[in-house]
Protein backbone atom coordinates (compact mmCIF):
# COMPACT_ATOMS: atom_id res chain seq x y z
CA UNK A 1 0.00 0.00 0.00
CA UNK A 2 2.80 2.39 0.84
CA UNK A 3 4.24 1.89 -2.61
CA UNK A 4 1.10 3.23 -4.25
CA UNK A 5 1.18 6.36 -2.11
CA UNK A 6 4.79 7.02 -2.96
CA UNK A 7 4.30 6.64 -6.69
CA UNK A 8 1.87 9.56 -7.10
CA UNK A 9 4.26 11.69 -5.06
CA UNK A 10 6.94 11.06 -7.69
CA UNK A 11 4.57 12.32 -10.31
CA UNK A 12 4.02 15.74 -8.73
CA UNK A 13 4.10 18.61 -11.27
CA UNK A 14 7.56 19.78 -10.24
CA UNK A 15 9.18 16.37 -10.49
CA UNK A 16 8.77 15.66 -14.25
CA UNK A 17 9.89 19.16 -15.14
CA UNK A 18 13.07 18.56 -13.22
CA UNK A 19 13.78 15.28 -14.96
CA UNK A 20 12.98 16.93 -18.27
CA UNK A 21 15.62 19.56 -17.66
CA UNK A 22 18.00 16.86 -16.61
CA UNK A 23 17.14 15.01 -19.77
CA UNK A 24 17.85 18.03 -22.00
CA UNK A 25 21.09 18.59 -20.09
CA UNK A 26 22.06 15.01 -20.69
CA UNK A 27 21.04 15.26 -24.34
CA UNK A 28 23.06 18.44 -24.69
CA UNK A 29 26.08 16.79 -23.14
CA UNK A 30 25.74 13.73 -25.32
CA UNK A 31 25.46 15.83 -28.48
CA UNK A 32 28.54 17.75 -27.39
CA UNK A 33 30.58 14.65 -26.80
CA UNK A 34 29.43 13.05 -30.05
CA UNK A 35 30.36 16.17 -32.04
CA UNK A 36 33.72 16.49 -30.30
CA UNK A 37 34.51 12.83 -30.88
CA UNK A 38 33.72 13.27 -34.58
CA UNK A 39 35.98 16.34 -34.72
CA UNK A 40 38.70 14.40 -32.91
CA UNK A 41 38.50 11.68 -35.56
CA UNK A 42 38.98 14.32 -38.26
CA UNK A 43 42.09 15.65 -36.53
CA UNK A 44 43.78 12.39 -35.58
CA UNK A 45 42.84 10.20 -38.56
CA UNK A 46 45.78 11.34 -40.73
CA UNK A 47 48.14 11.00 -37.77
CA UNK A 48 46.89 7.50 -36.92
CA UNK A 49 47.12 6.63 -40.62
CA UNK A 50 50.79 7.61 -40.64
CA UNK A 51 51.61 5.75 -37.41
CA UNK A 52 49.90 2.52 -38.47
CA UNK A 53 51.28 2.78 -42.00
CA UNK A 54 54.81 3.16 -40.68
CA UNK A 55 54.62 -0.41 -39.34
CA UNK A 56 53.11 -2.01 -42.43
CA UNK A 57 54.46 -3.18 -45.79
CA UNK A 58 54.02 -0.56 -48.53
CA UNK A 59 51.23 -2.35 -50.38
CA UNK A 60 49.11 -2.44 -47.21
CA UNK A 61 49.44 1.33 -46.64
CA UNK A 62 47.92 2.61 -49.87
CA UNK A 63 44.94 0.32 -49.46
CA UNK A 64 41.80 2.42 -49.04
CA UNK A 65 40.28 2.32 -45.57
CA UNK A 66 42.32 -0.83 -45.00
CA UNK A 67 45.23 1.55 -44.39
CA UNK A 68 43.96 1.84 -40.82
CA UNK A 69 44.01 -1.94 -40.25
CA UNK A 70 46.90 -2.96 -38.04
CA UNK A 71 48.03 -5.99 -40.05
CA UNK A 72 51.45 -7.53 -40.67
CA UNK A 73 52.98 -4.97 -38.34
CA UNK A 74 56.76 -4.88 -37.92
CA UNK A 75 59.67 -2.51 -37.52
CA UNK A 76 60.91 -3.36 -41.02
CA UNK A 77 60.19 0.13 -42.37
CA UNK A 78 62.25 1.77 -39.64
CA UNK A 79 65.17 -0.57 -40.31
CA UNK A 80 64.54 0.00 -44.01
CA UNK A 81 64.96 3.77 -43.62
CA UNK A 82 68.35 3.27 -41.99
CA UNK A 83 69.36 0.77 -44.64
CA UNK A 84 68.21 3.01 -47.47
CA UNK A 85 70.02 6.11 -46.25
CA UNK A 86 73.40 4.56 -45.76
CA UNK A 87 75.76 5.98 -48.37
CA UNK A 88 77.34 9.27 -49.42
CA UNK A 89 74.96 9.57 -52.37
CA UNK A 90 71.73 9.15 -50.39
CA UNK A 91 73.01 10.70 -47.20
CA UNK A 92 72.93 8.98 -43.83
CA UNK A 93 69.73 9.05 -41.82
CA UNK A 94 71.57 10.04 -38.66
CA UNK A 95 73.05 13.02 -40.56
CA UNK A 96 69.59 14.43 -41.35
CA UNK A 97 68.77 14.10 -37.69
CA UNK A 98 72.04 15.70 -36.71
CA UNK A 99 71.44 18.66 -39.04
CA UNK A 100 67.96 19.28 -37.65
CA UNK A 101 69.27 18.95 -34.10
CA UNK A 102 72.23 21.31 -34.62
CA UNK A 103 70.12 23.93 -36.39
CA UNK A 104 67.22 23.83 -33.92
CA UNK A 105 69.47 23.82 -30.86
CA UNK A 106 71.43 26.78 -32.14
CA UNK A 107 68.31 28.75 -33.05
CA UNK A 108 66.56 28.03 -29.74
CA UNK A 109 69.49 28.45 -27.34
CA UNK A 110 71.20 31.26 -29.24
CA UNK A 111 67.85 32.99 -29.61
CA UNK A 112 67.05 32.76 -25.91
CA UNK A 113 70.32 34.45 -24.92
CA UNK A 114 70.47 37.11 -27.63
CA UNK A 115 66.80 38.10 -27.69
CA UNK A 116 66.14 38.07 -23.95
CA UNK A 117 69.21 40.23 -23.38
CA UNK A 118 68.10 42.76 -25.98
CA UNK A 119 64.56 42.77 -24.60
CA UNK A 120 65.87 43.38 -21.09
CA UNK A 121 67.85 46.41 -22.28
CA UNK A 122 64.75 47.69 -24.07
CA UNK A 123 62.33 47.07 -21.24
CA UNK A 124 64.26 47.89 -18.09
CA UNK A 125 67.40 49.90 -18.79
CA UNK A 126 67.68 53.62 -19.24
CA UNK A 127 69.62 54.67 -22.33
CA UNK A 128 69.59 57.06 -25.20
CA UNK A 129 67.92 55.84 -28.40
CA UNK A 130 65.92 53.15 -26.68
CA UNK A 131 62.53 54.21 -28.02
CA UNK A 132 63.82 54.33 -31.60
CA UNK A 133 65.31 50.84 -31.39
CA UNK A 134 62.11 49.53 -29.82
CA UNK A 135 60.03 50.97 -32.64
CA UNK A 136 62.40 49.41 -35.18
CA UNK A 137 62.08 45.98 -33.58
CA UNK A 138 58.27 46.23 -33.53
CA UNK A 139 58.24 47.25 -37.21
CA UNK A 140 60.41 44.25 -38.09
CA UNK A 141 57.83 41.89 -36.56
CA UNK A 142 55.60 42.48 -39.58
CA UNK A 143 58.30 41.43 -42.07
CA UNK A 144 57.67 37.74 -42.79
CA UNK A 145 60.65 35.58 -43.67
CA UNK A 146 59.19 35.08 -47.15
CA UNK A 147 59.77 38.79 -47.84
CA UNK A 148 63.53 38.42 -47.45
CA UNK A 149 64.11 34.82 -48.55
CA UNK A 150 65.07 35.62 -52.15
CA UNK A 151 67.59 38.42 -51.47
CA UNK A 152 69.03 36.48 -48.53
CA UNK A 153 69.49 33.53 -50.85
CA UNK A 154 71.39 35.81 -53.22
CA UNK A 155 73.53 37.36 -50.47
CA UNK A 156 74.44 34.02 -48.88
CA UNK A 157 74.88 32.06 -52.09
CA UNK A 158 78.54 31.31 -51.28
CA UNK A 159 77.57 29.76 -47.97
CA UNK A 160 75.17 27.13 -49.23
CA UNK A 161 75.44 23.59 -47.85
CA UNK A 162 76.65 24.49 -44.39
CA UNK A 163 75.10 24.22 -40.94
CA UNK A 164 75.62 27.84 -39.98
CA UNK A 165 73.75 29.27 -42.94
CA UNK A 166 70.72 27.36 -41.68
CA UNK A 167 70.73 28.85 -38.19
CA UNK A 168 72.68 32.14 -38.09
CA UNK A 169 70.02 34.29 -39.82
CA UNK A 170 67.33 33.03 -37.41
CA UNK A 171 68.93 33.57 -34.00
CA UNK A 172 68.02 37.24 -33.67
CA UNK A 173 64.23 37.31 -33.91
CA UNK A 174 62.10 40.41 -33.56
CA UNK A 175 59.00 38.49 -32.43
CA UNK A 176 60.99 36.77 -29.68
CA UNK A 177 62.37 40.15 -28.55
CA UNK A 178 58.83 41.50 -28.52
CA UNK A 179 57.50 38.57 -26.46
CA UNK A 180 60.36 38.93 -23.94
CA UNK A 181 59.83 42.69 -23.88
CA UNK A 182 56.11 42.48 -23.04
CA UNK A 183 56.89 40.01 -20.24
CA UNK A 184 59.79 42.00 -18.75
CA UNK A 185 57.89 45.28 -18.82
CA UNK A 186 55.17 43.64 -16.73
CA UNK A 187 57.50 42.68 -13.88
CA UNK A 188 57.38 44.94 -10.81
CA UNK A 189 59.87 47.83 -10.89
CA UNK A 190 60.92 47.15 -7.29
CA UNK A 191 62.85 44.07 -8.45
CA UNK A 192 65.57 46.03 -10.25
CA UNK A 193 65.57 48.73 -7.65
CA UNK A 194 66.19 46.27 -4.82
CA UNK A 195 68.94 44.55 -6.79
CA UNK A 196 70.57 47.86 -7.63
CA UNK A 197 70.47 49.04 -4.02
CA UNK A 198 72.35 45.85 -3.20
CA UNK A 199 74.98 46.99 -5.66
CA UNK A 200 74.16 44.72 -8.59
CA UNK A 201 74.75 46.13 -12.08
CA UNK A 202 72.49 45.52 -15.09
CA UNK A 203 74.19 42.24 -16.01
CA UNK A 204 73.85 40.79 -12.53
CA UNK A 205 70.30 42.07 -12.17
CA UNK A 206 69.36 40.48 -15.44
CA UNK A 207 71.01 37.13 -14.81
CA UNK A 208 70.16 36.72 -11.13
CA UNK A 209 66.86 38.53 -10.71
CA UNK A 210 64.99 38.85 -14.00
CA UNK A 211 65.84 35.57 -15.73
CA UNK A 212 64.85 33.31 -12.81
CA UNK A 213 61.49 35.12 -12.61
CA UNK A 214 60.76 34.78 -16.31
CA UNK A 215 60.49 31.04 -16.83
CA UNK A 216 57.10 31.24 -18.59
CA UNK A 217 58.33 33.53 -21.34
CA UNK A 218 61.55 31.54 -21.79
CA UNK A 219 59.44 28.41 -22.15
CA UNK A 220 57.07 30.08 -24.62
CA UNK A 221 59.83 31.44 -26.82
CA UNK A 222 61.74 28.13 -26.75
CA UNK A 223 58.67 26.22 -27.86
CA UNK A 224 57.70 28.64 -30.61
CA UNK A 225 61.22 28.81 -32.06
CA UNK A 226 61.75 25.05 -31.75
CA UNK A 227 58.48 24.40 -33.57
CA UNK A 228 59.38 26.68 -36.47
CA UNK A 229 63.05 25.73 -36.78
CA UNK A 230 62.49 21.95 -36.64
CA UNK A 231 59.86 22.28 -39.39
CA UNK A 232 61.74 24.89 -41.43
CA UNK A 233 61.42 24.13 -45.14
CA UNK A 234 61.62 27.09 -47.54
CA UNK A 235 65.14 28.12 -46.49
CA UNK A 236 66.69 24.62 -46.67
CA UNK A 237 65.05 24.13 -50.08
CA UNK A 238 67.05 27.07 -51.37
CA UNK A 239 70.27 26.70 -49.40
CA UNK A 240 70.94 22.97 -49.23
CA UNK A 241 71.31 20.37 -51.93
CA UNK A 242 74.04 18.13 -50.51
CA UNK A 243 72.53 15.24 -48.54
CA UNK A 244 74.98 15.69 -45.67
CA UNK A 245 73.44 19.06 -44.73
CA UNK A 246 69.76 18.32 -45.35
CA UNK A 247 67.44 18.72 -42.39
CA UNK A 248 64.62 16.20 -41.91
CA UNK A 249 61.71 18.12 -43.53
CA UNK A 250 63.75 18.76 -46.69
CA UNK A 251 64.82 15.14 -46.86
CA UNK A 252 61.28 13.76 -46.50
CA UNK A 253 60.20 15.90 -49.44
CA UNK A 254 63.10 14.53 -51.50
CA UNK A 255 62.43 10.99 -50.26
CA UNK A 256 58.73 10.98 -51.21
CA UNK A 257 59.59 12.13 -54.74
CA UNK A 258 62.20 9.45 -55.44
CA UNK A 259 61.06 6.25 -57.10
CA UNK A 260 60.55 3.54 -56.04
CA UNK A 261 58.11 5.09 -53.58
CA UNK A 262 57.81 3.02 -50.43
CA UNK A 263 55.05 4.63 -48.38
CA UNK A 264 55.69 2.42 -45.37
CA UNK A 265 59.25 3.73 -45.18
CA UNK A 266 58.20 7.31 -45.89
CA UNK A 267 55.76 7.15 -42.98
CA UNK A 268 58.41 5.61 -40.74
CA UNK A 269 60.64 8.55 -41.68
CA UNK A 270 57.74 10.89 -40.89
CA UNK A 271 57.19 9.35 -37.45
CA UNK A 272 60.87 9.78 -36.60
CA UNK A 273 60.76 13.34 -37.93
CA UNK A 274 57.81 14.39 -35.77
CA UNK A 275 58.69 12.38 -32.65
CA UNK A 276 60.75 15.11 -30.91
CA UNK A 277 57.95 17.62 -31.51
CA UNK A 278 55.28 15.22 -30.20
CA UNK A 279 57.33 14.38 -27.11
CA UNK A 280 57.90 18.05 -26.31
CA UNK A 281 54.22 18.74 -26.98
CA UNK A 282 52.90 15.95 -24.74
CA UNK A 283 55.40 16.65 -21.93
CA UNK A 284 55.04 20.43 -21.92
CA UNK A 285 51.50 20.75 -23.21
CA UNK A 286 50.56 23.47 -20.73
CA UNK A 287 53.51 25.59 -21.86
CA UNK A 288 52.78 24.81 -25.47
CA UNK A 289 49.22 26.07 -25.22
CA UNK A 290 50.39 29.09 -23.28
CA UNK A 291 53.06 29.98 -25.81
CA UNK A 292 50.60 29.89 -28.70
CA UNK A 293 48.11 31.94 -26.71
CA UNK A 294 50.82 34.47 -25.81
CA UNK A 295 51.76 34.92 -29.47
CA UNK A 296 48.19 36.03 -30.05
CA UNK A 297 47.85 38.51 -27.22
CA UNK A 298 49.41 41.30 -29.23
CA UNK A 299 46.47 43.02 -30.92
Amino acid sequence: MTATTVRPAEATPTQPRFTKRQRTDLLCKTVNYVVMTAVTLFFIAPIVYMFIGSFKPANKVLNGLGGFMPESMSFDNYLGVFARFNSEATGYFQDFYLTSTIVSTAVVLGGLVVNSMAAYALARLDWRGRDGVLLGVILLVIVPFEAIAVPLYYLLNDHRNTYYVQFLPFIANSLSIYLFYTFFIGLPKELDEAARMDGAGPWKTFALVIVPMSKPVFASVSILTFLSSWGSFLWPVMMVDQPAYRPLPLEISVFQGQPPTDWGQIFAFGVMLVLPLLVVFLLFQRWFVQSVASSGVKG
Binding site: A121, E146, A147, L234, P249, G296
Partner: protein, 312 residues
Protein backbone atom coordinates in the same frame (compact mmCIF):
# COMPACT_ATOMS: atom_id res chain seq x y z
CA UNK B 1 61.75 56.49 -18.38
CA UNK B 2 62.24 56.89 -14.66
CA UNK B 3 61.83 53.29 -13.67
CA UNK B 4 64.53 53.62 -11.06
CA UNK B 5 63.71 56.96 -9.50
CA UNK B 6 63.94 55.81 -5.86
CA UNK B 7 67.37 54.31 -6.50
CA UNK B 8 68.42 57.60 -7.99
CA UNK B 9 67.45 59.47 -4.88
CA UNK B 10 69.89 57.37 -2.89
CA UNK B 11 72.79 58.05 -5.26
CA UNK B 12 74.73 61.31 -4.97
CA UNK B 13 73.05 64.10 -6.96
CA UNK B 14 76.21 65.09 -8.83
CA UNK B 15 76.71 61.58 -10.15
CA UNK B 16 73.09 61.49 -11.22
CA UNK B 17 73.41 64.62 -13.26
CA UNK B 18 76.68 63.58 -14.84
CA UNK B 19 75.20 60.34 -16.17
CA UNK B 20 71.46 60.76 -16.49
CA UNK B 21 71.36 57.77 -18.82
CA UNK B 22 73.52 55.61 -16.67
CA UNK B 23 72.84 52.29 -18.43
CA UNK B 24 73.98 53.27 -21.91
CA UNK B 25 77.12 51.13 -22.03
CA UNK B 26 75.66 47.84 -20.73
CA UNK B 27 72.46 48.44 -22.72
CA UNK B 28 74.38 48.82 -25.96
CA UNK B 29 76.40 45.70 -25.20
CA UNK B 30 73.20 43.80 -24.51
CA UNK B 31 71.38 44.80 -27.67
CA UNK B 32 74.37 44.54 -30.01
CA UNK B 33 74.14 40.81 -30.85
CA UNK B 34 70.41 40.99 -31.56
CA UNK B 35 70.67 44.25 -33.50
CA UNK B 36 73.56 42.90 -35.55
CA UNK B 37 71.53 39.80 -36.33
CA UNK B 38 68.44 41.78 -37.28
CA UNK B 39 70.39 44.27 -39.38
CA UNK B 40 72.30 41.60 -41.32
CA UNK B 41 69.56 38.98 -41.36
CA UNK B 42 66.45 41.10 -41.96
CA UNK B 43 67.10 44.78 -42.72
CA UNK B 44 69.96 44.24 -45.17
CA UNK B 45 68.20 41.57 -47.28
CA UNK B 46 65.02 43.63 -47.06
CA UNK B 47 66.80 46.63 -48.59
CA UNK B 48 68.64 44.34 -50.99
CA UNK B 49 65.27 43.13 -52.29
CA UNK B 50 64.50 46.67 -53.40
CA UNK B 51 67.88 47.13 -55.06
CA UNK B 52 67.97 43.71 -56.72
CA UNK B 53 64.48 44.21 -58.13
CA UNK B 54 65.77 47.21 -60.09
CA UNK B 55 68.42 45.11 -61.82
CA UNK B 56 68.54 42.38 -64.37
CA UNK B 57 70.59 40.11 -62.19
CA UNK B 58 71.13 36.40 -62.51
CA UNK B 59 72.86 34.00 -60.23
CA UNK B 60 75.72 31.85 -61.57
CA UNK B 61 75.73 33.84 -64.79
CA UNK B 62 78.86 35.28 -66.41
CA UNK B 63 76.95 38.41 -67.43
CA UNK B 64 77.19 41.25 -64.90
CA UNK B 65 74.13 42.82 -63.35
CA UNK B 66 72.45 45.40 -65.58
CA UNK B 67 70.44 48.35 -64.31
CA UNK B 68 66.86 47.60 -65.20
CA UNK B 69 64.86 50.39 -63.63
CA UNK B 70 61.26 49.38 -63.13
CA UNK B 71 61.37 46.88 -65.98
CA UNK B 72 61.12 43.86 -63.63
CA UNK B 73 57.97 45.32 -62.08
CA UNK B 74 56.54 46.10 -65.50
CA UNK B 75 57.15 42.52 -66.57
CA UNK B 76 55.77 41.00 -63.38
CA UNK B 77 52.70 43.22 -63.33
CA UNK B 78 51.82 42.47 -66.95
CA UNK B 79 52.37 38.73 -66.62
CA UNK B 80 49.10 36.73 -66.63
CA UNK B 81 50.88 33.95 -64.73
CA UNK B 82 51.60 36.35 -61.87
CA UNK B 83 47.94 37.34 -61.65
CA UNK B 84 47.04 33.67 -61.72
CA UNK B 85 49.21 33.23 -58.63
CA UNK B 86 47.83 36.33 -56.95
CA UNK B 87 44.31 35.14 -57.74
CA UNK B 88 45.05 31.76 -56.17
CA UNK B 89 46.31 33.48 -53.02
CA UNK B 90 43.11 35.52 -52.89
CA UNK B 91 40.98 32.42 -53.47
CA UNK B 92 42.82 30.67 -50.67
CA UNK B 93 42.32 33.67 -48.38
CA UNK B 94 38.64 34.14 -49.25
CA UNK B 95 37.86 30.53 -48.36
CA UNK B 96 40.31 29.79 -45.57
CA UNK B 97 40.04 33.00 -43.54
CA UNK B 98 36.27 32.87 -42.81
CA UNK B 99 36.04 29.08 -42.70
CA UNK B 100 39.04 28.51 -40.49
CA UNK B 101 38.16 31.37 -38.15
CA UNK B 102 34.55 30.20 -37.77
CA UNK B 103 35.70 26.64 -37.20
CA UNK B 104 38.33 27.73 -34.69
CA UNK B 105 35.75 29.81 -32.83
CA UNK B 106 33.27 26.91 -32.75
CA UNK B 107 35.95 24.55 -31.42
CA UNK B 108 37.13 27.08 -28.84
CA UNK B 109 33.55 27.59 -27.62
CA UNK B 110 33.04 23.85 -27.33
CA UNK B 111 36.24 23.49 -25.33
CA UNK B 112 35.30 26.42 -23.12
CA UNK B 113 32.30 24.53 -21.71
CA UNK B 114 32.52 23.30 -18.13
CA UNK B 115 32.45 19.65 -19.18
CA UNK B 116 34.73 16.83 -18.21
CA UNK B 117 37.52 15.72 -20.58
CA UNK B 118 37.95 19.07 -22.35
CA UNK B 119 41.73 18.95 -21.91
CA UNK B 120 41.89 15.62 -23.71
CA UNK B 121 39.87 17.00 -26.61
CA UNK B 122 42.02 20.13 -26.69
CA UNK B 123 45.12 17.93 -27.01
CA UNK B 124 43.65 16.13 -30.02
CA UNK B 125 42.37 19.29 -31.73
CA UNK B 126 45.74 20.96 -31.32
CA UNK B 127 47.94 18.02 -32.30
CA UNK B 128 48.18 18.78 -36.07
CA UNK B 129 49.72 22.19 -35.27
CA UNK B 130 52.80 20.36 -33.99
CA UNK B 131 53.28 18.71 -37.40
CA UNK B 132 55.62 20.54 -39.81
CA UNK B 133 53.88 21.46 -43.06
CA UNK B 134 56.36 19.40 -45.09
CA UNK B 135 55.33 16.25 -43.22
CA UNK B 136 51.63 17.15 -43.35
CA UNK B 137 51.92 17.52 -47.11
CA UNK B 138 53.56 14.12 -47.46
CA UNK B 139 50.86 12.39 -45.37
CA UNK B 140 48.02 14.09 -47.25
CA UNK B 141 49.64 13.41 -50.60
CA UNK B 142 49.05 9.74 -49.99
CA UNK B 143 45.55 10.33 -48.61
CA UNK B 144 44.75 12.26 -51.79
CA UNK B 145 45.88 9.41 -54.07
CA UNK B 146 43.79 9.50 -57.18
CA UNK B 147 42.80 5.83 -57.49
CA UNK B 148 40.23 3.99 -55.40
CA UNK B 149 42.99 2.95 -52.99
CA UNK B 150 43.50 6.54 -51.85
CA UNK B 151 42.15 7.03 -48.33
CA UNK B 152 39.86 9.93 -49.17
CA UNK B 153 38.45 8.31 -52.29
CA UNK B 154 37.86 5.08 -50.39
CA UNK B 155 36.09 7.00 -47.61
CA UNK B 156 33.81 8.84 -50.05
CA UNK B 157 33.12 5.58 -51.87
CA UNK B 158 32.14 3.93 -48.58
CA UNK B 159 29.99 6.83 -47.32
CA UNK B 160 28.14 7.19 -50.62
CA UNK B 161 27.65 3.43 -51.03
CA UNK B 162 29.80 3.55 -54.16
CA UNK B 163 28.08 6.53 -55.80
CA UNK B 164 31.14 8.80 -55.78
CA UNK B 165 33.78 7.77 -58.29
CA UNK B 166 37.47 8.22 -57.42
CA UNK B 167 38.63 11.83 -57.74
CA UNK B 168 42.08 12.94 -58.89
CA UNK B 169 42.37 15.40 -56.01
CA UNK B 170 45.75 16.94 -56.74
CA UNK B 171 45.92 16.20 -60.42
CA UNK B 172 42.79 17.98 -61.56
CA UNK B 173 42.72 21.75 -61.75
CA UNK B 174 39.21 21.94 -60.29
CA UNK B 175 40.08 20.15 -57.05
CA UNK B 176 43.81 20.84 -56.54
CA UNK B 177 43.36 24.15 -54.69
CA UNK B 178 40.46 22.73 -52.67
CA UNK B 179 42.71 19.87 -51.59
CA UNK B 180 45.43 22.29 -50.50
CA UNK B 181 42.82 24.32 -48.61
CA UNK B 182 41.33 21.38 -46.69
CA UNK B 183 44.77 20.19 -45.68
CA UNK B 184 45.90 23.66 -44.59
CA UNK B 185 42.79 24.11 -42.44
CA UNK B 186 43.38 20.72 -40.85
CA UNK B 187 46.89 21.78 -39.86
CA UNK B 188 46.22 25.40 -38.93
CA UNK B 189 42.86 25.58 -37.18
CA UNK B 190 44.19 24.37 -33.82
CA UNK B 191 46.54 27.34 -33.61
CA UNK B 192 43.72 29.86 -33.96
CA UNK B 193 41.53 27.80 -31.65
CA UNK B 194 44.04 28.16 -28.81
CA UNK B 195 44.34 31.92 -29.33
CA UNK B 196 40.53 32.29 -29.37
CA UNK B 197 40.18 30.02 -26.34
CA UNK B 198 42.52 32.31 -24.42
CA UNK B 199 40.37 35.24 -25.58
CA UNK B 200 37.16 33.48 -24.47
CA UNK B 201 38.59 32.85 -21.03
CA UNK B 202 39.29 36.56 -20.75
CA UNK B 203 35.61 37.48 -21.06
CA UNK B 204 34.20 38.01 -17.55
CA UNK B 205 31.51 35.45 -16.64
CA UNK B 206 29.49 38.24 -15.06
CA UNK B 207 28.64 39.45 -18.58
CA UNK B 208 27.07 36.08 -19.39
CA UNK B 209 25.22 36.08 -16.07
CA UNK B 210 23.82 39.53 -16.79
CA UNK B 211 22.76 38.38 -20.26
CA UNK B 212 21.04 35.35 -18.76
CA UNK B 213 19.17 37.52 -16.28
CA UNK B 214 17.93 39.51 -19.28
CA UNK B 215 16.70 36.19 -20.69
CA UNK B 216 19.09 36.39 -23.66
CA UNK B 217 19.11 33.22 -25.73
CA UNK B 218 22.31 31.28 -26.38
CA UNK B 219 22.57 32.82 -29.83
CA UNK B 220 22.02 36.35 -28.46
CA UNK B 221 24.75 35.73 -25.89
CA UNK B 222 27.14 34.74 -28.67
CA UNK B 223 26.29 37.83 -30.72
CA UNK B 224 26.23 40.37 -27.89
CA UNK B 225 28.78 39.07 -25.41
CA UNK B 226 31.16 36.58 -27.03
CA UNK B 227 31.84 38.27 -30.37
CA UNK B 228 32.30 41.82 -28.97
CA UNK B 229 34.48 40.42 -26.18
CA UNK B 230 36.66 38.66 -28.74
CA UNK B 231 36.81 41.55 -31.20
CA UNK B 232 40.53 42.30 -30.96
CA UNK B 233 41.49 38.64 -30.84
CA UNK B 234 39.35 37.95 -33.90
CA UNK B 235 40.92 40.83 -35.81
CA UNK B 236 44.37 39.52 -34.94
CA UNK B 237 43.49 35.99 -35.99
CA UNK B 238 41.94 37.17 -39.26
CA UNK B 239 45.01 39.29 -40.04
CA UNK B 240 47.49 36.49 -39.32
CA UNK B 241 45.50 34.04 -41.44
CA UNK B 242 45.21 36.51 -44.32
CA UNK B 243 48.97 37.10 -44.30
CA UNK B 244 49.50 33.35 -44.03
CA UNK B 245 47.40 32.94 -47.19
CA UNK B 246 49.89 35.04 -49.10
CA UNK B 247 52.88 33.17 -47.69
CA UNK B 248 51.65 29.86 -49.10
CA UNK B 249 54.66 27.83 -50.27
CA UNK B 250 55.58 24.50 -48.59
CA UNK B 251 52.37 22.67 -49.51
CA UNK B 252 52.51 23.89 -53.10
CA UNK B 253 56.16 22.94 -53.53
CA UNK B 254 55.62 19.39 -52.27
CA UNK B 255 52.14 18.60 -53.56
CA UNK B 256 51.55 20.32 -56.90
CA UNK B 257 54.51 22.51 -57.97
CA UNK B 258 51.92 25.13 -58.86
CA UNK B 259 50.03 22.85 -61.21
CA UNK B 260 48.01 21.48 -62.80
CA UNK B 261 47.80 24.28 -65.38
CA UNK B 262 48.83 26.88 -62.78
CA UNK B 263 45.76 26.02 -60.68
CA UNK B 264 47.79 26.21 -57.47
CA UNK B 265 50.64 28.55 -58.36
CA UNK B 266 51.14 31.29 -55.75
CA UNK B 267 53.07 34.53 -55.40
CA UNK B 268 55.71 33.00 -53.11
CA UNK B 269 56.01 29.91 -55.28
CA UNK B 270 56.75 32.14 -58.27
CA UNK B 271 59.21 34.29 -56.33
CA UNK B 272 61.18 31.23 -55.26
CA UNK B 273 61.08 29.47 -58.63
CA UNK B 274 62.12 32.68 -60.43
CA UNK B 275 65.13 33.14 -58.19
CA UNK B 276 66.00 29.54 -57.47
CA UNK B 277 65.03 27.50 -60.52
CA UNK B 278 65.48 30.15 -63.21
CA UNK B 279 68.30 31.97 -61.37
CA UNK B 280 66.43 35.21 -62.08
CA UNK B 281 67.13 37.01 -58.82
CA UNK B 282 65.88 40.37 -60.13
CA UNK B 283 62.45 39.03 -60.96
CA UNK B 284 62.25 37.01 -57.73
CA UNK B 285 63.09 40.15 -55.75
CA UNK B 286 60.47 42.21 -57.58
CA UNK B 287 57.80 39.62 -56.73
CA UNK B 288 59.06 39.64 -53.14
CA UNK B 289 58.61 43.41 -52.94
CA UNK B 290 55.07 43.16 -54.30
CA UNK B 291 54.39 40.43 -51.75
CA UNK B 292 55.62 42.65 -48.94
CA UNK B 293 53.46 45.55 -50.09
CA UNK B 294 50.43 43.25 -49.82
CA UNK B 295 51.42 42.16 -46.31
CA UNK B 296 51.96 45.77 -45.30
CA UNK B 297 48.54 46.76 -46.64
CA UNK B 298 46.84 44.02 -44.64
CA UNK B 299 48.70 45.10 -41.50
CA UNK B 300 47.77 48.76 -41.96
CA UNK B 301 44.10 47.88 -42.47
CA UNK B 302 44.17 45.85 -39.28
CA UNK B 303 45.75 48.71 -37.31
CA UNK B 304 43.09 51.10 -38.64
CA UNK B 305 40.28 48.78 -37.58
CA UNK B 306 41.82 48.43 -34.13
CA UNK B 307 42.26 52.19 -33.75
CA UNK B 308 38.62 52.82 -34.62
CA UNK B 309 37.72 50.44 -31.85
CA UNK B 310 39.77 52.42 -29.32
CA UNK B 311 38.17 55.70 -30.32
CA UNK B 312 34.66 54.33 -29.85
Amino acid sequence: MDTKSPARVTSPPTKRKATPRRDTVPALLMITPAMLGLLLGVVLPFLAAGWLSLNNIRLNSPRPAVWFGLEQYARVLTDPEFYRGLGNNFLFAVIVVPLQTALALALAMMLNQPLRGMKVFRTFFFMPVVFPMALVSVIWKLMYSRDDLGLLNALLHWISFGAIAPIDWLGSSSTAMLSIIIMSIWQGVGFQMIILLAGLQGIPTSLYEAARIDKASWWQQVLNVTIPGLRNTLIFVVMVTTIFSFRLFDQIYILTQGGPNSATTTVMYQAVTSAFTENNVGRGSAITVVFFVIVLAITIVQRRVLREEREV
